[in-house]
């Protein structure tokens, strides 16, 4: 099992780099969907969720994180014919370099923590930190509102990794509540995106500057 976990986590780390270097939205959405799928399965691979309820919950998480959320965002783009570029504030190459530095730093930091975990995988914490920070980075370094929403989804994925792998305590019903909140939040963001596109003709957040002091 350990081989499977490490491989999938390594793929997630790799996908963080792809996400930071992605110039177009459909690619970014696919990367985030892939991350959603992997982070939903990780608890199962570690052996946390091996009850009937746990497997049902994993499937639900997988469907929501891996399919529903990316599809909702994809449909929002498709229906409104939104331009497909991410409109970076920090250039793509610079972002990629930042991503590399981030992964190295996360691995280095991750080693210094002694965490109780059911798995001996050394990649869990670095992956979680990378997802968290890269999500924040996308939120700050992209002007396109959709890229920002995807950054938020990545951040959430990172928190999910921390929550499910390092702590065994939360009940499934509570985790499901969190998931529903995240889903509803992204649905609302998707609706707002469509309205933004309608009113200002683009989803470039630098156009939204009318409210200030």
């Amino acid at each position: 099992m350990s081989f499977l976990i490490d491989t999938s986590l390594a793929l997630v780390l790799f996908s963080v780099l792809i996400a930071l270097g992605a110039g177009r939205l459909p690619g970014l959405i696919r990367v985030v969907a892939f991350q959603g799928i992997v982070v939903s399965v990780v608890p199962l691979l570690i052996g946390h969720n091996l009850s009937a309820g746990g497997i049902a919950f994993t499937v639900a998480t997988l469907v929501i994180r891996g399919l529903v959320i990316p599809l909702a965002i994809y449909i929002a783009i498709h229906r409104r014919a939104i331009r497909r570029e991410v409109e970076p504030i920090v250039g793509l190459h610079a972002s990629l370099l930042a991503g590399l530095v981030l992964i190295v730093a996360a691995t280095w930091v991750g080693r210094s923590f002694q965490l109780p975990t059911a798995s001996d995988s050394r990649l869990l914490l670095p992956t979680a930190i990378s997802l968290l920070v890269a999500g924040m980075f996308l939120l700050m370094a992209r002007r396109n509102a959709i890229a920002m929403v995807l950054g938020y989804v990545m951040l959430e994925n990172g928190i999910y990794v921390v929550g499910t792998t390092f702590s065994l305590r939360t009940h499934h019903i509570v985790e499901f509540g969190i998931l529903l909140d995240v889903l509803a939040g992204i649905m609302i963001m998707a609706i707002l995106l469509q309205h933004i596109k309608q009113t200002s003709g683009d989803v470039d957040t630098s156009l939204m500057r009318s409210l200030k002091d």
Binding site: L115, A145, V149, I159, S167, T170, G177, I178, I188, S200
Partner: protein, 475 residues
Amino acid sequence: MLELVILIPLVTGAAAFALPQRFGRALLVLTGVTHLAASIYVWAARPDALFGAYFAISPEGLLSLLVISLLFMVISIYTTGYLETHPLAGEKVFCASMLLFLATMSMVTISDHIMVMWIAIEATTLASAPLIYAHRSAESLEATWKYVLICSVGIALALLGSVLITISMEVGKVDAPVSFSALTAHATKLDEIWLKAAFVFIVVGYGTKMGLAPMHTWLPDAHSEAPAPASALLSGVLLNCAYLGLFKTHALMQAAGLGHFSGTVLMALGLTSILVAATFIMRQQEYKRLLAYSSVENMGIIALGTGIGGLGAYGAMLCLIHHSLIKSSLFLSSGNILLGYGSRLIKKTGNLAGRMPKTCLAFVGGFVGISGFPPFGLFLGELFIIVAAFRTGHPIVGGVFVFSLCVIFGGFARHVMRLVYGPAAADQNEPIPEKATMFWPQYVLLSVSVLLCFWMPKTLYETIAAAVGYTGGGF
């Protein structure tokens, strides 16, 4: 049946979605009255929760619940008058969202499980987003977008903080439910480093939602773009809900012997908020944004008082109650002004005393109250915090606080004088008709604040003292 306070507005909210639009206003008032009755019942009988693992009664939660319930009842009456004068395009969604918003806020007040608390606070963001977007203008869209994105990201960090609390349980080998009440009993065994990290993330997360500077940037936009009844709810009670999350975490830190750390963080953030609010209030041009920055100031005062502890924390609780009462009355009055003058700019208003005398009385009364003058209750709260700051050996904090209060009063007074007695445009001097349902609610809210300043029921005093008791420190 503690969950009744969530279920009532949840059911009526769903009904408001399902039924035709004309039922919306009646449902609002009906829910307001029944919810208040349910909250008083909960206060008096202290019933057990059906789902004891997730919900429980706490003194600070009870206080917030009663304030939320009272405010919602009064605001629902105002809303009927507001919607008659100023019909909204999506009235059905507006009414339903108001009710769901009430349900989520009630859920925050009775949450005991750390994650359920987070779910409830995030749900308040989602339920209130349609309220801010009610006008469907480009500006309100921008405000809603900022609100949803900034608050969701902020609150995501609070989720990370909550997860870190569970990690501190794992590291400390604490075997207890993940609830505030259970953890406070085992607090000393929790791992210190992880708990400190958790507190930092939770402060940033719930602090964003509460409007503490420098994470307050969404607040003035959202509060000024929302229709008056929604602004009153956002400012009056939503901020309290986020504060509740922060307060409970601070109490947990206190029990773990880390109260000095968390108290210092709260004091620093509180003082920053007060100073930031002071600078923006001085040069503000719109009266709704002025009130919004005053909310930032008051949340700063509450965080400061909580951080100081003891008498300061008691003062903070008083401020929490009276800020809700007074600020929501001010936002309701600002709604009347906006409907009457048709502009948010202070310079486009004037002669409020002559044109809308009844609203003017409520507005000036609210201004006196929010500035911390007697006979309004905020006076006592702020006084206690100042006394506590000097008594616990923080003379500089106390000095900066008093100085900022003076600056804020000066800035606020200048704008209010312009609004109330300043010259109106030449063609605007006829009186503006005022509806009874649109000024009585403000009078009621202000009277409650005055009443509580002179006569505080024993049960209320005991509940506040019990809430503050967790945070330690004597009087």
